[in-house]
Symmetry: C2
């Protein structure tokens, strides 16, 4: 079975995020007030073959540990959903 995966890789709290800070300064200048806490992370999408959802989640968690994220400064949120037929 094929699963559609979305991994959000984001900086841990307290880790400096210059792109986020730049957006946060730029938004009010464009007329967007009331925005705070802007943080920029990565959104990694992929298709994974696995026998069930639990196996897919375990595979992706292992990928995060080994390649997709730096566990010293980043944390990950994993979303796994069964792929719709055509894919």
């Amino acid at each position: 079975m094929t699963f559609d995966v979305l991994v959000e890789v984001r900086l841990k709290q307290g880790v400096a995020d210059p792109p986020g800070a730049t957006l946060e300064r730029a938004l009010p200048a464009l007329g967007f007030g009331g925005v705070s806490g802007v943080r920029v992370g990565k959104a990694i999408r992929m298709s994974v073959d696995a026998t069930d959802q639990a196996e897919a989640e375990a595979l992706v968690a292992a990928m995060c540990d080994r390649l997709l994220a730096n566990p010293v400064i980043e944390e990950t949120v994993i979303n796994v959903a069964e792929a719709v037929a055509a894919q």
Copy 2:
């Protein structure tokens, strides 16, 4: 009211994605087979003040058009949720 926002900014289909291609080549070498269609985008989180969810979504859509994404090569997915009390 404050809303927690997650904007996924991803490259449109057909736009070259070298970071995604690099991950896709590296994963089998680490023992992760059965992975395809790896695409790397941005996950932007922020807190937005608005009177209701519809206003928050409209605000964020305008931010995407003006600053967060390049509509020529990128598309966005916007998630807005009411912030939990403490924030």
